[in-house]
Symmetry: D2
Subunit: 467 residues, 4 copies
Amino acid sequence: KGDGAESAGIVTSDGESSQTFKVHKGMGLINHVFNADSLKKLYPSNLGIGHTRYSTSGISELQNCQPFVVETLHGKIAVAHNGELTNAIRLRRKLMRHGVGLSTSSDSELITQLLAFTPPLENDDTADWVARIKNLMKETPTSYSLLIMHKDIIYAVRDPYGNRPLCIGRLIPVGDMNGKGKDNTETEGWVVSSESCSFLSIGAEYYREVLPGEIVKISRHDVQTLDVVQRSEGDPSAFCIFEYVYFARPDSIFEGQMVYSVRRRCGQQLAIEAPVEADLVSTVPESATPAALGYAQKCGLPYVEVLCKNRYVGRTFIQPNMRLRQLGVAKKFGVLSDNFKGKRVVIIDDSIVRGNTISPIIKLLRESGAKEVHIRVASPPIRFPCYMGINIPTKEELIANRPEFYDLANYIGADSVVYLSVEGLVSSVQESIKERQKNNSTAQKSPGKIGHCTACLTGNYPVELEW
Amino acid sequence: KGDGAESAGIVTSDGESSQTFKVHKGMGLINHVFNADSLKKLYPSNLGIGHTRYSTSGISELQNCQPFVVETLHGKIAVAHNGELTNAIRLRRKLMRHGVGLSTSSDSELITQLLAFTPPLENDDTADWVARIKNLMKETPTSYSLLIMHKDIIYAVRDPYGNRPLCIGRLIPVGDMNGKGKDNTETEGWVVSSESCSFLSIGAEYYREVLPGEIVKISRHDVQTLDVVQRSEGDPSAFCIFEYVYFARPDSIFEGQMVYSVRRRCGQQLAIEAPVEADLVSTVPESATPAALGYAQKCGLPYVEVLCKNRYVGRTFIQPNMRLRQLGVAKKFGVLSDNFKGKRVVIIDDSIVRGNTISPIIKLLRESGAKEVHIRVASPPIRFPCYMGINIPTKEELIANRPEFYDLANYIGADSVVYLSVEGLVSSVQESIKERQKNNSTAQKSPGKIGHCTACLTGNYPVELEW
Amino acid sequence: KGDGAESAGIVTSDGESSQTFKVHKGMGLINHVFNADSLKKLYPSNLGIGHTRYSTSGISELQNCQPFVVETLHGKIAVAHNGELTNAIRLRRKLMRHGVGLSTSSDSELITQLLAFTPPLENDDTADWVARIKNLMKETPTSYSLLIMHKDIIYAVRDPYGNRPLCIGRLIPVGDMNGKGKDNTETEGWVVSSESCSFLSIGAEYYREVLPGEIVKISRHDVQTLDVVQRSEGDPSAFCIFEYVYFARPDSIFEGQMVYSVRRRCGQQLAIEAPVEADLVSTVPESATPAALGYAQKCGLPYVEVLCKNRYVGRTFIQPNMRLRQLGVAKKFGVLSDNFKGKRVVIIDDSIVRGNTISPIIKLLRESGAKEVHIRVASPPIRFPCYMGINIPTKEELIANRPEFYDLANYIGADSVVYLSVEGLVSSVQESIKERQKNNSTAQKSPGKIGHCTACLTGNYPVELEW
Amino acid sequence: KGDGAESAGIVTSDGESSQTFKVHKGMGLINHVFNADSLKKLYPSNLGIGHTRYSTSGISELQNCQPFVVETLHGKIAVAHNGELTNAIRLRRKLMRHGVGLSTSSDSELITQLLAFTPPLENDDTADWVARIKNLMKETPTSYSLLIMHKDIIYAVRDPYGNRPLCIGRLIPVGDMNGKGKDNTETEGWVVSSESCSFLSIGAEYYREVLPGEIVKISRHDVQTLDVVQRSEGDPSAFCIFEYVYFARPDSIFEGQMVYSVRRRCGQQLAIEAPVEADLVSTVPESATPAALGYAQKCGLPYVEVLCKNRYVGRTFIQPNMRLRQLGVAKKFGVLSDNFKGKRVVIIDDSIVRGNTISPIIKLLRESGAKEVHIRVASPPIRFPCYMGINIPTKEELIANRPEFYDLANYIGADSVVYLSVEGLVSSVQESIKERQKNNSTAQKSPGKIGHCTACLTGNYPVELEW
């Protein structure tokens, strides 16, 4: 359980010819895939695109080794893709019917071959890549955030529903980083990423999101909107609400708000929906801390730490007898029993997917002296599969679809357990977005009606699914 | 900096003959030294001792590969040692003068050979190991916590000054762990460790500390005090105060109190000694969190998170140009800027050793919108070397010994910086110990006057140093 | 020099559906690519194809990671390819003109997509793979040996010129291997390989070669010739003569003869062409031993060992100073000086490519007491590049194209040096083939006129090269 | 079977102070233990000693990690040891009785502590290491070859029986290696090794053997005999005869003769003792080739290769079914069947220890067409354990002690099998030594009567064994 199969890849271009694309891809953690040598091979370059996949604990996104590079009559193109096409099967058959063999099951190859294929090509001396991208977007509504590199240009594309995130950062000139002031308006270059939080660590600052349906052309000194493809009339946008709840790093910015702030609001909302008479509020370190602090503040209860992380866990292979096999949780956490002995404890968790993690923690707290243990979950229960790129456990594995769910507190050993409502989650997410819209903010504005994909919670998918 | 050279070792005995001691030692992280195969070779066994060394960030303890095993006329003995003998050089010369070659520079070999050597041996058919241990303790006052294994007995020994920690845990019968009640008084066995926090993860519970000077004999069903060797008259005990401040895990128990509680009291004391007009209290995740929560509570200021850890840091080898080399801190942390933009921030740190970590963090917070940044350090400045087993940077590296220290706030870019006083630290540590003593507690009582080793802060060493 | 970049791959099928093809590929030595786990994943299966590439010292074949698998409208096909298409560039453009993007520069992808592409496909419910293979063979004359797997069939194909080897082995039933007699006519299954020598090690026996142009269909119990595609009229076959000279293992069988026997005949022929007055014949261990034994026998001189291999050479990284850097050869071989002190030595080498290996050996022999050192090379000099799959050094690197070649004996420090003539090589190779043809052998007969590709020696390529 | 546990170590000195000894030791192949970094740490240095252990197939020498270094009152000494003390147990008890704990079971620690211990030491300001070495040699007669390093001197010592080899090489000045002539009498330095064959690969030439009982002092420019300790009166020397038969590399020189020449003479002697009517003589590659060439020449039969080595054997983990498990030998060798089909074959092997290797080879040759297979073994059967450093299989494992031995030809499937006689082996080894002695050679002369240790063949040990 944990850091399973992963992959990473980078493709760079010297900005002059796509024939000199340099590619390095591999399975495994990014630190294993790339080392000083493999990175050196990618230089010098003026632009490049990359891709990493890692499985977060419990719920992981689909895996495929990217970017995908093909040579076409008009040079090489490289494509990195985040998401999952809802009509992939139909599009695969279409390509194969034209005699194109597909070497992987990945959508990134499918998208790349669809871009290469668009007819008529016989006398098309200079391929119109933007036309090809628009053609692709007409063929498939969601879900994809794409980086497409060709020679000296990168196209950043987000599907019309905006299901997967994509944002642009601006490299800060070195002088500015040294604190010599920010009047310098010169731009060192541009970076594009699914998560804005990555910008800081490479010396860039958040610039703006790619809007749903937008095709952005990025060259060294310029970021330019080429087109914004509309979704079906009346459809609201459908950014994945689970990015806020679970996947994104707390310092990421989506739709103009920091994920951390959304999570704290979820905690506050949860305090309104499901208060409890208790002595202290705490959390399982460390992803639910913002929600716990929000809950504690709203309730007026003290926020206290009850567990500390055991840094030297290792691969827990040291299991030569039955005794040790029972100690799973105790190997991961230390118990700060003096902080809660004889107290009534509220534990805020960010989500309960299968229910097999929280149960031994509750037992551990009780054995260490907690008088009561109440569980509050800062998101609604997951009940439905995702077909847009998130690898959710099977329906049978989801605790919310199992009979135990009807007596959940008893099943996990808690004094009570309450989830945040879907409405509570949606309002926590949309509150400040709507406020900013009302304030007639001059900030960038997503086109059309704002909505969020809550399919895994409600079964309402943003587009009709095709098989 | 980071996870440098480490070593680990385990020696087990079948409890019948020391000739069958099984040894596995190696350099590297414990997970690399031990795998399923090497562990299997150590079984079956009735008792064993082990040792690991890891360098904690910045300050690390001295390294030596243990346990040390030698064959003597009376069978094998294995010795694991934590600490550093203050008169090691004299003792080494003494042994060598008798013709014993020493194969390492480690105190553990020295101690083992001293135990083996004690004359007269010619007609000593059954070696009196306890007499040998007492003889050793007469020859060297501090600092050592020892586990000595011979055949079917383990001796746990702590030097008369109690400088290094050592405590005993009791294995909980499997039935009890399953929640079938704790009336069962049967004991599954005993474990001894420097840090009590390790007990939970192996299914044991804290039983008691080995007292300063105590020689404890441990067999499968019995823990028995054989003797308590006294220190020089009038000398107080001298447990390392830096275990509380820095080394120990927060859930460890020393002298009857949880480290976490001491750290929170240090934060509270710091709030009394050095209050500041500010909007919020925070910390650099995550070792100073208890002090920060204590400070915030005492001041009545909100505790807020300003940084989040970047889990996928890696070995930061990705440094092909100057730009990236400037980004050290930004690679380790994400900035939760919405939480503190325009606010006056107090950052609680657990210690400032060299001063080169806090400086870029302050800069990062300011660039992200902090109006003021005040630093409060929950321990006094380190100024002196440790000769009792802690690897402290050289005097020249310690920020407190450098000219910059006289204008430290300016040097690190803070609006103000204040350290906890030595008196404040000592009272935070001793407060509840004294209270318990006053209450005539029936709990185990350390013999003689209570004191703590503050040598690295004050230069007052518990015993005279020999060269 | 040495064991450079390598790759290996296996694809297996359960023989029922191509959708369940199991693939494992990777860069590196086969032992690194495959382990017990990855092999287990490939089972159970009824048939499979694999591919390995390793660089032999000095001259290595082109590298590409195989087998290549694509999904088509009619199921998956997997293709393993040995060789290099002489008109690959034209075929690539043709495919790209139809909108197929090519993700690698390898011929195996090109061949796979060409097989997938063949129109008309719209209403072609059950693809006629044999027609597609024949179509492919019409498009490209050489050089390729192919294994094509689809569902429950493997097609083994050799190009009409027979440039690359391919042969079929028959798995011996386990009972037979135990020596219980060979009357049992049951067949356990079939294996196909470039080199027959691999059969023995997997419990198979040599069955027959795939003939030039032949398409063989292999299923569990049956080996069936589907067609034999003819080459351009009048063209002789063109099996790579360098397989005999250098690449193949001595126990491999090509065209009905063991490679070892051909090499010994080359040595005998060399003795006729270039005799020398000397005391003994020897070789550089160990690839030229058959030629040396042939030469010695023909001359009537004793065969004596002069060098022994140093088994513990390692990666010769131990080179901290100039002294050691001069010792290259001396690290690889020990000198059996007593065997040749004061004697005139003839050294038989299998080929001299760059000339930088033999020179220090000659010096070593002289310094160890050889009176004369004569070099005889059991193959003609390489002068031209190969475009059919063999990675030969650039023209500039080949000793035969450099000015030193005109005074080669002096340049390498030999008393004399003579190469085998091209005619001598060809007759050594063809002698027994022709004899068998004359004897009206009932064994399988290659269609058309027998010839061999000597392009690297003569510049005469078997087909016109396209760019 | 295979390359089991191994170890390697190097200790270097700057030639000024033993305090600066640099040590690098480790388990594993020398290429894993040492890399560029670990070697760099050993420089700069003026002298050093090293040690490696590797297990040769079937029979391997005892393992212990060396050199052993201890600090004494007079500085550090480092000791590398080859051999096994026949009275180790008594010497261990003696040391332990004086209170010295022994941390390993190795003789090298024992020897090192014995050197350190020698009393009286109290007022011995400058230790007389030569006196200590002579004292050691009086205490233990055999078997040991030692390198003892102290500050700027290395002592090379061979036990009075000369059981283990030890020889001195002279580093050739770089100029000489470049062929500028050998008039230069300057010496670059000295090297000492168990096997002379290693000299060539580091740019040194054979200088002379250390004589039985000799203590040689080696400094940068000087090799000086300090003393020659005599063995018990009348005892002949006892160099291990198995070094000639099995362990040593063929290009090594012992007692003035090349191992290769001895092995060829063994083959010739075997031809006299056990001729056979056959068509050809061959061998299992490659250690018995000299004996096979000797046998063939003496018999007048052609020497022919029947097997070739399979270079890509790998760890033979590919054993997913019963079929493949039967193929052991076929994975290691290719069969050159054309060379012996229908012929009567004599296979020369260097020794048959357990009998489980030759049996499947014979079967393989028969199945590939050999008409008869006769085995001739170029050494006598091993029947007794070695207590002088060679790790011989247990008595029960040795084929010569098992009932099958009485019908060995039948057991291994050969038409006949004959071993070389002990007398034949001894005369093959001593023939040229005695001839040189007769010729009143001016070369170095071993003191006393010449003999060889044949204990493993005859049970006659050179000294009485102590327990």
